[in-house]
Subunit: 468 residues, 2 copies
Amino acid sequence: MMDFLTQCRAIIGQTYVLDTPDGMAPFLTDQRGRFTGKALAVLRPGSVDEVAALVRTCVEHRVGLVPQGGNTGLVLGSVPDVSGTQVVLSLARLNSIRQIDAVNRTMTVDAGCILQHIQEAAAAEGCLFPLSLAAEGSCTIGGNLATNAGGTAVLRYGNTRELCLGLEVVTPQGEIWSGLRGLRKDNTGYDLRDLFIGAEGTLGIITGAVLKLYPQPKACITALAALPSPAHAQQLLVLMQDCCGSSLTGFELMSRYCLELVAQQFPQLPRPFAEPHPQYVLLELSSSESEQHAIGLLEQAIGAALERDVINDAVVATSVAQSAGLWQLREHIPLAQAKAGKNVKHDISLPVSRIADFIATTEPLLEAAFPGCQLVCFGHLGDGNLHFNVAPPGGMSNEDFLHNQDQVNRVVHDSVVAFGGSISAEHGIGTLKRDELARYKSPVELNMMRAIKAALDPLGIMNPGKIL
Amino acid sequence: MMDFLTQCRAIIGQTYVLDTPDGMAPFLTDQRGRFTGKALAVLRPGSVDEVAALVRTCVEHRVGLVPQGGNTGLVLGSVPDVSGTQVVLSLARLNSIRQIDAVNRTMTVDAGCILQHIQEAAAAEGCLFPLSLAAEGSCTIGGNLATNAGGTAVLRYGNTRELCLGLEVVTPQGEIWSGLRGLRKDNTGYDLRDLFIGAEGTLGIITGAVLKLYPQPKACITALAALPSPAHAQQLLVLMQDCCGSSLTGFELMSRYCLELVAQQFPQLPRPFAEPHPQYVLLELSSSESEQHAIGLLEQAIGAALERDVINDAVVATSVAQSAGLWQLREHIPLAQAKAGKNVKHDISLPVSRIADFIATTEPLLEAAFPGCQLVCFGHLGDGNLHFNVAPPGGMSNEDFLHNQDQVNRVVHDSVVAFGGSISAEHGIGTLKRDELARYKSPVELNMMRAIKAALDPLGIMNPGKIL
């Protein structure tokens, strides 16, 4: 039996088998720099057949594989463990857009395509690929699919799962499943596609996908509303959806503290209101008709909200620059947080109807456990998804506070589960939340997941130690 | 060990264990009357706990279970085989709407709820549950979920899978999985929900679901367009979506022959055009704003289509009665077919961009194999879904033609697969298409399905013989 790495070199060429510390380093640490693993090698195949041949070699030698796209994940799902026995399999060289079908409104892509390139290729055909998130300049669609990524367009277009019609997957046996169907309706057996989506590479390696495209909206406008409370934000969401239907494409909640943090750290950014308000909602409306139509619709909805005392005030962006400025406020919250110091982050979701009650219940629990701690609460309220982050009390060092991370998680996640929510809305499980998953999922559900993992990957070579 | 039926009676009461021929008869024959099975008994539990207890009893006695909702399926998926060793487990008594959350826009229901009752309950809260199909007065949501039913609203709202956020399932071990989440985002492990949806009861019994609701549109208008060819219909779809975005909620293709058949069999129905045209498209637009808005949008789109010679002519319904009349034309096609005689039916889907080529290629193949046969081609073109039915040549008896069913299927399904399509768009596999599935699916995909089935239902008691 040939040596494992010799076999890998024979398959993909010496250049693409990285086994020096310098060569491997960029693939071993997660994006936030919280964890560094070790690897036997980093493998960079250039085709689906090469991926399949590498997997068969891993099977032969019982080597665990960690699939990696842009390595922008937030739950340590795309880096190897510290054993040094696993290989990283980078999909980055599989980066072709294979086909665009503007009539079927589909695009067939390699898993290693950067999300932004896919957005641009769709736009060049007059179409929209709606998935949009902070890492879009470096994340890959394979990673988006493996984690069922969310982002800012879920309200209208759904998660990555809803944007995918077909997959190509290399199985844990090193076979190629060609499920690249561009069909809106297909009821021929079990839904393997949705099983691989969100499985974080633990059931197989996604190598290609057929994505859904949409008509490009003709206009997109933005407004910022000021509100008395999260309960008012819930009411505003119902009102906006009743008025605007699917034209409502963005609905982002930000607390007063979030915008104060942004103003402190980025004083050059706009301050839309003279006086502070307890809560803000960033609204985005898209129209398939015209800018005039979008503005008319938005003004009518805002008028109704003012009249019914659902909002205190609102500003509508009247230029692209103003619109970008409002979105910058939202996008700078995590950056302002990072500049201000460490905090304990949560990526949670709740039934939209429970959000105000959840915040009202959980904030006092945190205050009781960690007097003076500061809640940084913002997120995609339209999807029930909050980034519910907790910053240390004034005077406490970041390090001291991070020692309490598990207790902070316990307060927040216990409350989330009590309100019927999820401890991971859009980031996945990886290794970061694996113990939390085991704590909160029912044994019935965990046993079904383990049975599926064992059935499809009996040797346990696919992204070992992630999720389960 | 107690006798099996005695145990069942102890769990659900004597009244709800049917074992006489008369009592069982309504549950043993499929809706189209093509097949009658035999059963040990029909079990009618009244609660989820009773379902679970019955499944555990079936496990103990190794008795196969056939879950049944409204028994309106079209692929023999909800009737037992002829062995007489299986039981039918009817979910019909689980028919409560458990909760409606108008802010979260969700409804939690028992699996045995009739689809139409769910639609009505949503409407009473000012909401829309968009799933709509011919059998809605008698089919149950559990069956809709088990088969991932399609229907006329898929273009805008997706299949049943896209309308479901959470499930409650009794597993093949008789445990209850409580996955009744009302969350738009939840990335906590494998997507079990979508695995059970569309599995036709072969992996577990769906007993409850959380469904997505939408705002009720303020207006909905209908038009009928006349076109030279299916290729023009493809162009019209692109044009309508570019003009109207998600306001386009219906797009149904009907050939000249379809409407002639309807006119022959139902002469009282409207005839919108004085002269015949090769193809027709039924268009439906919904507006979250007003009727005026919908009409304006539709007239603008139709104007553009006429200007670019995409359509020959169009009539817009100006009243609810006219709109209903246009939909009746579409809905009476299968009824007219049934009155005119038997035919070989296909429920296929294709990439929307391939539909015209598929029809142009396949019609001559059928004509060559069965000279004089008549194609009855209509369906949800917006989803790429055609009901591509073949009627006997004039002079050939229905019976003689039905002897050719397998050969007709071979011509049509070979062509579907060559064009990248699906042999079952919205009806599922059941036993009717099980051999076709085995013929057309890749061994890689079939093996993954079999591995999942064996992992979750190792005793093989869940709807044995269906799909695989």
